[in-house]
Symmetry: C3
Subunit: 211 residues, 3 copies
Amino acid sequence: MDKPIVIVGTALLAEQMQYYFAERQGRVVEAFAVDAEFLREDRFCGKPVLEFEEALRRFGPTTHELFIAIGFLATAQRKAKFDLARRRGYTLPSYVHPSASVAENVRIGANTLVQEQVVVAPFARLGEDVFLCPQVGINHHTRVGDHCFFAPAAVVAGDAEIGELCFIGTNATIRDRLRIGPRCVIGAGAVIMNDCDEGGVYPAARAERRA
Amino acid sequence: MDKPIVIVGTALLAEQMQYYFAERQGRVVEAFAVDAEFLREDRFCGKPVLEFEEALRRFGPTTHELFIAIGFLATAQRKAKFDLARRRGYTLPSYVHPSASVAENVRIGANTLVQEQVVVAPFARLGEDVFLCPQVGINHHTRVGDHCFFAPAAVVAGDAEIGELCFIGTNATIRDRLRIGPRCVIGAGAVIMNDCDEGGVYPAARAERRA
Amino acid sequence: MDKPIVIVGTALLAEQMQYYFAERQGRVVEAFAVDAEFLREDRFCGKPVLEFEEALRRFGPTTHELFIAIGFLATAQRKAKFDLARRRGYTLPSYVHPSASVAENVRIGANTLVQEQVVVAPFARLGEDVFLCPQVGINHHTRVGDHCFFAPAAVVAGDAEIGELCFIGTNATIRDRLRIGPRCVIGAGAVIMNDCDEGGVYPAARAERRA
């Protein structure tokens, strides 16, 4: 039987994970956990909110799983919590929405979210702790590193490589066969036609008001 | 048993609605109705075309439903007909394509069209008389006002607010957490990174011919 | 019973077609075939690789089908092989992924690939030898000519016309009611708001590194 889940975070992403795990999958969400500095409420989505270390003391890895629901504004903290959870022996579950098309030859790693109508095409590879928002497209033979976050409808064409800890914005476009270094930030709507070095920030050409 | 439907309009959108209601859902489309100035043919898709008020006299709200199939070129007229149909006591049906992913906690209003592979994510809210063309993405916690029209593949990221009577063009991108005022026109492919005041017109940066 | 298939090509597209036909549909892929100048390996995906004319001698049209898996870098060669296969009497199969939404009133031609979560909306028309990568949207009443290639998530709004032999790049946007002439190349992320003459090349406005 599935273990109950403790969700780390109490922002909008945590609310969504509670919906997916509890409402859609019928799993038990035991509690939410946040660092002391973010502890502002006793309950969230009808469940208790605990300080992070207190939650780990109460709900150990033999009886509970952890899901790190920290969004793209704090990817480094998500990675830190993910690594710590692993060291403590926790299993980190994943959620794949049934409307997503993930090819049979693609492996889904730990702490991964694949939302509505995402495509992960044949021969793609995903790292661990990857977030794919609705309608994201990871195309054939593309490799995605650990801890990446793809905002809604972001698309990477085939045979590309996305380094770890990247953020790819809403409806951004990455051409085929490119290499995107680790920790890049690709803005919403940006069109990437060349390789990107580590840590690059690429905002889109924005629309201007005409009338 | 479902009442027969009278479709208001005889343009391409009306043809599509006839397809969805009659061909896909097996409902009866009784007739089409248009204002006198647009009355140019007796029949459309094999059904009679009547002047609008004449259609309302023949097919009243106790026996028929109305669907206002007036597209994005005439949103104000769609709203006017929608309001009038409501005052006369008509029910206005909606159509959601089975390939769309609409979260269980989202309510679909009257005279709403949700086409192929649209995503309306958990905690989003839709007004009434909303048109979502194929592959549109309305993401988590985003609120869409009445009478909006989203062209194909337009995407609004999470926790945004779209005022009433907006047009969002094909494959346009609206970043998360923005406020788009009423009656804005966002062009095809436009990337919106800041709040938009009421009535703003935002065309995209267009591609130029190089060779 | 379905005839075995000979796939023409040994690049990434050929690998994908082998996956779709053999792994997903359970069909027999007999061999791969390439022109002599590209013959570099004896086997590909566990099957023999033959010189093109040799393959046609061994596997004739009464016992085998041909699929021309030559991608967008060599559209003219794909057309040449397609025409030759037709003249020799071969049937060219198509593959439509089950997650795609193709309206019932759309006909799928020979040597056509419709990948994950593509939408071909009601009243659209597709030519033959058309490649639609994942999440492509061909909207209502749009006509697509023979030998076109649509990269992932490219979108054409309604009632447009795309001439034969066009390439439409990843996440490109084509507004409704436009006419795109034959042999156009629309770049990844490009936004097309006007008709395009034959052979035009339209690159997108690219994102520039800011930090």
